[in-house]
């Protein structure tokens, strides 16, 4: 069962079975805007079709033996009135579409965001932030653009296709022939055209992307390129990529140049012209009707030129919707377990024959160790050895594939998730701070903390001094006006956060490096102070932290290569001994 970790109070989810249904279910909520869009499209096209009819009226008024100037005057007035009214309705159509588009962007983004908040931490640790960002900005924008100009133009131009079909028979039933054949031919030609064009466009995009990526790479790595004297080869490779791009570009241009609906339009105008003249000669229609009819056919010009663009807009909108739905519908494995064990934590942690696989790849195997409350544990090993996975099993970011992890003797899966996580604090490697004041960032886990509490926490984390050195002190907004914090400073702010929430179990993924000895001094003090009195896991590169930990876990390719105190490891492990030997 997929249970969300967070349920938004004001989100009415759309129909998530398919992208089209989803977009439609959202669009349906804006009835008046929809009415405005559709009625605007009909009226706009109808009033555009009125002009040829009015011209016909004027024509017959003037060509009769006694010209009727009063009628001519009225026709002019009616043309103005009809076109002004048309403008108003067209605005209604455009703005209706715009409004739905903007609202869809707003609502789908909110639905996405709420669903993201409901996902497990496992989910979030699997997805790069960049990917989610692209969904929350670009893809929702695609849905917006799909409505306006996409759907707007399609609905609009569909009416322009329809009007001659409807109006022509009122002039003479036989005159429906040309519009009918045109509309059918137009559809077939358009479908074929798009089938040809879409892969070609995709090809151009891909080859350009490749060209660009390689170019960026070559320029960013220019020092390496020059250092290795490889300029000529880079130019050669750039030329190859250029040639590939050119081929794709020319191919696309070729398809575009052959755009068939344009030819169909020319044919329709010619045959319509012939047909109306023949009917006139046979005495079936009046001269003024010939004029009206031929002007009417010109309405086909608009859909012929515009549809292309509109259809591709709709297809990329649906593609965006599909990507969003994939994210929203992704299952989230962990549940809240609200009825689980909830109690103040002591901080004892045991791993019993733990194995963990990630995407089917085994990451950790045969892990067994015991940590007593209050101990400091250093987790050491190369990148990819499984350090991060190990600590993420403790707060159930991931669940084990075999064995069990116990906290205070209780399997973490039997804990109430909220209670478990509230008492565990994780300070991640790439620390994220909100662009708010430093005080607010420190108080993030404990809203309503007093300034005194915040300062005390900062002091314990050795952050007070540098915070005070900022012009606005604790009220400094992170990231604003060039206030950039170094990795070490961010880490200490995160530590201050932890002092404030006072977790029973602290997990610190520490990979910052101090450039100078004085900063190193402060970081060491802050970390040792944070570790005092609570169980602490440190993923660390710092020899001093390894040296003074109560328990050192050496991971090698997912297994425990060695475990014990510093003295025990010196005796036990050759690799460990070698590290310290270099410092003698």
């Amino acid at each position: 069962m997929a249970t969300a970790e967070f349920t938004a109070y004001d989100i009415v989810p759309g129909d998530r079975r398919s992208p089209l249904r989803w977009v439609l279910s959202h669009a349906r909520r804006h009835r008046w805007a929809l009415v405005s869009l559709f009625s605007g499209a009909v009226v706009n096209a109808a009033l555009a079709a009125v002009v040829p009819l009015l011209v016909g009226v004027a024509f017959s008024a003037i060509t009769r033996s006694e010209p009727d100037y009063a009628t001519l005057g009225w026709v002019a007035v009616w043309i103005i009135v009809s076109q002004v009214v048309r403008g108003v309705w067209q605005l209604g159509r455009n703005f209706g579409a715009e409004l739905i588009g903007q609202r869809l962007e707003r609502d789908t983004r909110a639905e996405l965001y709420a669903s993201l908040l409901g996902k497990s931490m496992t989910f979030h640790s699997l997805r790069p932030v960049g990917e989610i960002m692209a969904r929350a900005t670009n893809d929702v924008r695609e849905i917006n653009l799909m409505l306006n100009p996409g759907i707007n133009l399609i609905v609009g131009s569909a009416n322009f296709l329809l009007m001659p079909l409807l109006v022509a028979p009122t002039i003479h039933p036989a005159l429906v022939a040309t519009p009918l054949v045109f509309v059918i031919g137009y559809w077939l030609a358009l479908i074929r055209y798009m089938r040809e064009l879409n892969p070609a466009t995709e090809h151009v995009r891909a080859s350009f992307g490749h060209l660009n990526a390689r170019l960026e790479e070559a320029l960013e790595g220019i020092e390496t390129v020059k250092g290795a004297a490889r300029e000529a080869q880079e130019v050669e490779r750039f030329d190859e990529n250029l040639a590939a791009w050119r081929a794709a570009y020319v191919r696309q241009g070729e398809i575009e140049a052959r755009y068939l609906p344009l030819l169909l339009l020319a044919l329709a105008l010619a045959f319509g012209f012939l047909h109306s003249l023949l009917l006139f000669q046979a005495g079936a229609v009046a001269a003024s009707q010939v004029v009206s009819y031929n002007s009417l056919l010109l309405l086909f010009g608009f859909p012929t030129f515009i549809s292309l663009f509109a259809f591709s807009q709709v297809s990329s909108g649906l593609a965006g919707g599909r990507r969003l739905l994939e994210l929203i519908n992704a299952e989230t494995e962990l549940d809240q377990n609200p009825s689980g064990y909830a109690a103040p934590m002591q901080g004892a942690v045991t791993f019993e024959d733990v194995a963990f696989a990630y995407d089917g790849e085994p990451v950790l195997r045969d892990l067994t160790f015991r940590v007593r409350p209050g101990q400091t544990v250093a987790v050491v090993g190369q990148t990819g050895a499984g350090k991060t996975s190990l600590i993420k099993l403790i707060n159930r970011t991931y669940d084990v594939t075999a064995g069990r992890v116990r906290v205070d003797g209780v399997d973490v899966r039997d804990w109430n998730l909220e209670s478990l996580r509230q008492q565990i604090s994780i300070i991640e490697q790439d620390l994220f701070l909100f662009s708010r004041t430093i005080a607010e960032n420190i108080a993030f886990g404990k809203p309503g903390a007093t300034l005194d509490e915040i300062e005390a926490a900062a002091q314990a984390a050795q952050a007070h001094e540098f915070i005070r050195s900022f012009e606005r002190g604790y009220q400094t907004v992170v990231g604003e006006r060039g206030v950039m914090l170094s990795g070490g400073q961010r880490q200490r702010i995160a530590l201050a956060r932890a002092f404030l929430t006072d977790p029973r179990l602290l997990i610190l993924d520490d990979s910052t490096s101090a450039i100078d000895s004085a900063t190193e001094d402060q970081i060491q003090r802050a970390i040792f102070r944070a570790a005092a009195g609570r169980t602490t896991f440190l993923i660390t590169h710092r020899l001093s932290q390894i040296r003074w930990a109560d328990l050192i876990l050496v991971l090698r390719r997912g297994r425990l290569a060695a475990a014990g105190s510093h003295e025990a490891l010196l005796a036990q492990s050759e690799a460990y001994r070698r590290i310290f030997a270099r410092y003698q």
Binding site: V51, R86, Q90, N94, A114, Q281, T383, A385, D516
Partner: protein, 607 residues
């Protein structure tokens, strides 16, 4: 100027006159002379054919006054059919040729721009971000091409309007004047809307930049919020941002939604006027019905070109400035200049700076009257505060920059006389954050020497930590490193970069040591790789690690571009001078004593 205002100008930007620019552009089009001629002919034909269509229809309408014979009907039909079909065909030929010409010109321009770019020394890259250079090579060349298409289309439309005007004027001067007086009103409305749209768009963009940053933040903050169970709070924050974004966009959308309706209303006035005035003339017998019809239809034909004209100049301007940016990139003068192209024989690795002066362009002097002699095979560690000149020394040896006076001799020969690629093949350079190219570990190790066999690489790799680092890579040497090496850890990237040098066997090794921390096991392997390299080349190391300075044959202590102390670690430390100060600032915490001493903090915290 585009909608978003100008980009900041850069120092290598030159100002070209429009004539110079057009001349330069013409040179790129010159090789396609025959195609251009055909395109010109098709442009004229298109204009003629498009004007012929309404004329034929108008002639048909005139014929309605009396009884048109079947012959005339078929003749007119044939004319319309032929004009339409032919117009499509001509259009096809023109677009096809245009695409090819544009593609070739862009390819040519991009190649020139890229070649010019890689020929520059590093002082160029220090000043101009690679992102901007990339956009000049890719987007600006494209924009330039787009403008040429735009110009061609506009010319065709102007010819068409001209032809139509001439025909109309021959029928009725006064009606032509009326047409000319009313339709350009469209232009006024279009220009006014453009101003308004630009204003709301600019307002909107400014606000949207904030909103996007806020959305980015709330999305990035999700995991932190979950960690502290503050979902409700970030959700509220997100909603506020999301609503703000909506409000801004709707306002902007309203203005943009109004453009075409307004233009249509204006065109309605024009049509009405011509229907009325034309009707009066026709009624009075001054023109016939067909001519009247022609005038009415012409409103629409004038309509679109005039709307396009509203944005024509600004687009042409944008195209010209894009061209200017591209040409400025191509024309920028390289600073590093070689006086000869001597291909050096196998170097021994002796380096001598003789009374050399160096500064980066237009900045204060970095090295003054600097002399330093490095023996072949020696390992020299450079230490000093930031800005002391350590990396300048390394970069001058690599000939990434030009020095202003003095001499730099390699094996007793003037560095400026070497053929640079040949010289650099004997250098091994590893920067602080090693750069890897997308590809496999093996590709990157062999980057400088693609001809080396895989087995040789493998054998070398096994010399480091028993090859354990290879086993931690999922596919060993064939593991893809990802964009810029993102799939490898920093430590692994350093190992790969050092392997690159090991494979290359250079005479001179230049290392800017990393400051970022690496896990102790990988660090140990990096040290092993380093030991292997130092053994067999002259080495210049910008040192950040205690173990490196200790292992160096000679430590050169720099302050403000001057050598103030020289010697080995122990003797310099004993002197108690600048080196001792540097040691206390940068190296002390790496010592075993410090590691032992930090235990006191642990005991203090526990109390």
């Amino acid at each position: 100027m585009g909608f978003f205002g100008n980009l900041d100008p850069e120092a290598y930007d030159r100002t070209y006159t429009d004539a110079q620019l057009v001349g330069r552009m013409a040179r790129y089009f010159a090789p396609h002379g025959r195609r251009l001629a055909v395109i010109a002919v098709t442009l004229g034909l298109t204009a003629l054919l498009d004007a012929a269509f309404p004329l034929a229809v108008a002639r048909g309408v005139s014929a309605l006054a009396e009884d048109p014979g079947l012959d005339l009907i078929l003749l007119l039909f044939g004319a319309v059919l032929l004009a339409g079909t032919f117009s499509w065909g001509v259009n096809y030929v023109r677009r096809r040729l245009t695409t090819r010409t544009i593609a070739d010109v862009i390819v040519h321009l991009r190649r020139d721009a890229f070649q010019a770019t890689v020929a520059h020394d590093l002082s160029f890259y220090d000043e101009y971000s690679s992102g901007r250079i990339v956009s000049r090579i890719t987007s600006d060349t494209q924009e330039f091409a787009n403008v040429t298409v735009l110009v061609a289309d506009t010319i065709s439309q102007i010819i068409q309007i001209g032809l139509l005007t001439a025909v109309l004027a021959s029928i009725s001067g006064s009606l032509t004047v009326a047409l000319w007086l009313t339709t350009p009103a469209v232009l006024l409305v279009a220009v006014a809307f453009r101003r308004l749209a630009r204003y709301v768009t600019r307002q909107g963009n400014r606000a949207m930049a904030n909103v996007n940053a806020a959305i980015q933040e709330t999305v990035s903050g999700i995991s932190v919020a979950k960690n502290f169970r503050q979902e409700r709070e970030v959700y509220a924050e997100f909603l506020a941002v999301n609503r703000q974004s909506y409000a801004i966009n709707v306002r902007r959308g309203f203005v943009l939604a109004a453009v075409f309706p307004a233009l249509n209303a204006v065109a309605g006035f024009s049509s009405a006027l011509l229907v009325y005035l034309g009707g009066l003339s026709a009624g009075a017998g001054a023109i016939d019905a067909g001519a009247w019809y022609l005038f009415i239809q012409s409103v629409d034909r004038f309509f679109f070109p005039f709307i396009n004209l509203a944005s024509f100049w600004s687009q042409v301007q944008a195209g010209l400035s894009a061209a200017e940016r591209v040409f400025a990139l191509i024309d920028a003068e390289p600073v590093v200049k070689q006086t000869a192209a001597v291909r050096p024989a196998a170097l021994r690795g002796e380096i001598e700076f003789r009374r050399l002066n160096f500064r980066y362009s237009s900045k204060e002097t970095v090295l003054t009257d600097f002399s330093l002699h490095i023996r072949p095979g020696e390992t020299v560690a450079l230490v000093g505060h930031t800005g002391a000149g350590k990396s300048s020394i390394a970069k001058l040896i690599a000939r990434f920059y030009e020095f202003q006076s003095g001499e730099l001799l390699i094996d007793g020969q003037d560095l400026r006389r070497f053929d640079l690629p040949a010289y650099r093949r004997q250098l091994g350079i590893v920067s602080q954050v090693p750069f890897l190219f997308a590809g496999t570990v093996l590709d990157n190790i062999r980057y400088a020497r693609p001809e080396i066999a895989e087995a040789d690489v493998e054998r070398l790799a096994r010399q480091i930590g028993g090859g354990e680092w290879l086993e931690t890579l999922p596919d060993g040497l064939h593991t893809p490193v990802g964009q810029r090496g993102a799939k490898l850890s920093l430590g692994q990237r350093q190992l790969v970069a050092l392997m690159r040098v090991l494979v290359q066997r250079p005479a001179i090794f230049i290392l800017d040591e990393a400051t970022a921390s690496v896990d102790p096991f990988t660090e140990e392997q990096i040290q092993q790789a380093l030991d292997l390299i130092l053994h067999r080349s002259t080495a210049i190391i910008i040192a950040h690690r205690l173990s490196t300075v200790r292992a160096a044959d000679r430590i050169v202590v720099l302050r403000r571009g001057q050598i103030i102390e020289e010697g080995n670690h122990d003797s310099l430390l004993a002197q108690g001078g600048h080196y001792a100060e540097l040691y206390n600032t940068y190296f002390r915490h790496q010592s075993l004593e410090a590691i032992q001493a930090f235990g006191a903090y642990r005991r203090a915290a526990a109390d």
